[in-house]
Symmetry: C2
Subunit: 393 residues, 2 copies
DNA sequence: CCTCCTTCTGATAAACGCTTTCATGGCTGA
DNA sequence: TCAGCCATGAAAGCGTTTATCAGAAGGAGG
């Protein structure tokens, strides 16, 4: 049985009102009756009013959360003093500080973020624009961004890019910019990302996590996909394959780095350049692509746009009775968590999405602070496993 | 060559300043020189000042984004009129409306969300607390939440729960509550989620997306894992297996529904209840669990806590030379996107995470609006594929 | 011992950008 | 001519922070 400041039983009020009821409610009531804070003897009146309030007679009153002024009144100090205790911007006597902290505790006070943001002009949100949250690379990058943001006390807001037209990009951007943003990070792994980047006003600090080098002059944290694809292709050629087929993933408005790197490596080696097979980055489309390639009969090595596609491609080959890697070698891209335990285990180009996400935040913050930071950059690394081998014929 | 209102060439200014430069900059300059808005003839002075500003002589001035008062001044109307045009809260003559819209366009004005939130008391952020963004179920639920939130004009903020102790839950909660939140949704699939739920103050509207029924009396969008596990176990028993082994995933503070359902089904069937094998929800731990089970020699059917674990378990069995489903049947939980193309394709209990995420938002909003909404609820559905079959001996 | 100056603490007030209420002035229609 | 309506503007918040100011306490010098 907890007892309020004037002997009012909060539990009684609570039972009468049929809902939780806090010290704060009591004070609101006193205020309403016009009682100064430490006025004893009006407990009964307060209780009555409290119950009225709690039962909905005056809903708005009860709903109001405690504000700085409430804390100040309860602690018997002025509003700025409370603010100073909270922010530590100026010295406050130990005595008052204690009172203030106790009042905050009692009232369950939490600063109003909107008011704080308005007064300080400081922004504490980083908005992430992405077309997807579920696929491995996207999800990892988001995790990296969130971790880095949290480390410096920022919150991450997420906005999905639904359509791949300019209009829906604009809508998404408008929604995101409706918040007081410190900056924006766009996951520019696809056309939606590029569209969103284009739709962003130049006035807002922006960084992109990107797998392509060119485009609008926005600072980018970059995967050097091109070099990665070149390495992967050279690896397969080095195993003795005459050429390497490619299952492409959708391009973000311009030829993807993976495609370019693949073609460059083939050209450099003087190998024939097969027609590209398209996919939509899903395992299912990989299945279709694999079935198509299996039907051709002359395929011995395939570089896939990502691991999920590679899984589908491998599955399709196996369904057609071809063995991987004995009959055909498959190399993926990203190093998906399941690549390791796939059958056969998948040889792939590892990318550290989370790390690039983290560095993208640092990059953005550095630019915000006016410190020149070099654009982060990461080259995929070959992870040799069991899905690629020298050709058998 | 665009020309400013008094014949000032913005392009000239831009070239001189070496950075993009907008109409708005001009007006700021006029303001600084003390010119009323439509005052002709001071173009040259403005340009000079503009270049000073842009080149950093007065950085703050240039940095200031346009506010409602700027729009009002440019449009030649009062501040409330602009506000009315924006919110449509009161009629405005077509004439002024047009002027206002043009001014907004020219200045690239965007309302300040913090000020708006402060004035209206309306909150536009839903915070999602989760221990993970990358795993399938979590990522899908986040997507569902984001979609539903976006549909009603809300933004989703993401905060990861790092440690599984109370202290780090408190830190995460504090960070999230630092924003002006409309409400919080906790993904309570694990102990971190439960901790966060416990750390949330009762004053903030909260909903949980959960796979367990009990716990703190917070409204929950619920997966009926228990029924799902019961169904899965009964399915395996129905195929003729003497009993079913279980590879468990970490519990969120209390026995997981999956475990309970599994045990109930076995008890009801009078089947022996084998010891549970633990995993940490990763494929790799599934590998270990599978190796352990394969070593026992008497295992014919396994129900896994999720699909990723099931993948590992299957792989381990195969590595030990056991065939799935001929020698041992494996059933998963969740219907991971790769379950379909795994070898063998995985029989599993499908859960629609995205849909439950969406309904959780509706649920939260309904409660915010005071409309009584029934707690959403979803029962996993058996998807029969190729990884489970009758025992062969 | 009194006064003046310094130092430290707390309070008052003015922003921050937007919404909203209320009052006013110009119209229309009877 | 006057009531009534409508568009508009002035002003008062919303909950913080911060700059400025006043007052008290304390020490030193006369």
């Amino acid at each position: 049985m907890t007892t309020g400041p004037d002997g009012v039983h909060l539990d009684v009020a609570q039972r009468l009102a049929g809902r939780p009821c806090h010290q704060h409610d009591l004070w609101l009531c006193r205020e309403r009756v016009g009682l100064p804070y430490p006025a004893a003897g009006a407990a009964r009146l307060c209780l009555r009013l409290l119950v009225c309030t709690l039962t909905g007679v005056n809903r708005r009153l009860h709903t109001r959360p405690p504000v700085l002024a409430d804390v100040a009144r309860v602690a018997g100090v002025s509003v700025p003093t409370v603010s100073r205790v909270l922010s530590g911007s100026a010295p406050v006597s130990a005595d008052k500080r204690r009172q203030v902290l106790r009042a905050i505790q009692e009232l369950g006070y939490r600063p109003n973020a909107a008011a704080r943001a308005l007064a300080t002009g400081k922004r504490s949100i980083i908005s992430v624009l992405t077309s997807d949250t579920t696929r491995y690379g996207y999800a990892s990058a988001i995790r990296g961004i969130e971790e880095a943001a949290r480390a410096v006390g920022l919150v991450v807001a997420l906005t999905l890019l639904d359509g791949d037209d300019n209009e829906s990009a604009r809508v998404a951007v408008d929604l995101a910019l409706g918040q007081p943003l410190a900056g924006v990070i766009v996951l520019e792994f696809d056309i939606q990302g590029s569209r969103a980047l284009a739709a962003l006003p130049r006035t807002i600090p922006t960084a992109a996590v990107s797998s392509a080098g060119q485009g609008r002059s926005v600072p980018r944290a970059l995967f050097d996909d091109r070099a990665g694809a070149r390495d992967a292709t050279n690896y397969l050629l080095g195993l003795g394959h005459r050429t390497v087929h490619h299952v492409g993933i959708p391009e973000s408005g311009r030829p993807s780095g993976r495609l370019l790197g693949w073609r460059e490596a083939l050209e450099a080696a003087g190998a024939p350049i097969p027609e590209i097979v398209e996919s939509d980055e899903t395992p299912r489309s990989g299945l279709r692509a694999g079935a198509h390639l299996a039907g051709r009969g002359d395929v011995t090595a395939v570089l896939c746009g990502n691991d999920e596609v590679a899984f589908g491609v491998i599955k399709a080959f196996q369904d057609e009775g071809m063995r991987v890697p004995e009959d055909v070698s498959v190399v993926g891209f990203d190093d998906h968590p399941l690549a390791e335990i796939w059958t056969p285990s998948l040889t792939t180009m590892r990318q550290d999405f989370a790390e690039l996400g983290r560095t993208a935040v640092d990059f953005l913050l550095g630019r915000l602070a006016g410190v020149p930071v070099e654009a982060p950059h990461s080259t995929p690394r070959l992870v040799v496993r069991g899905s690629a081998a020298p050709p058998t014929r």
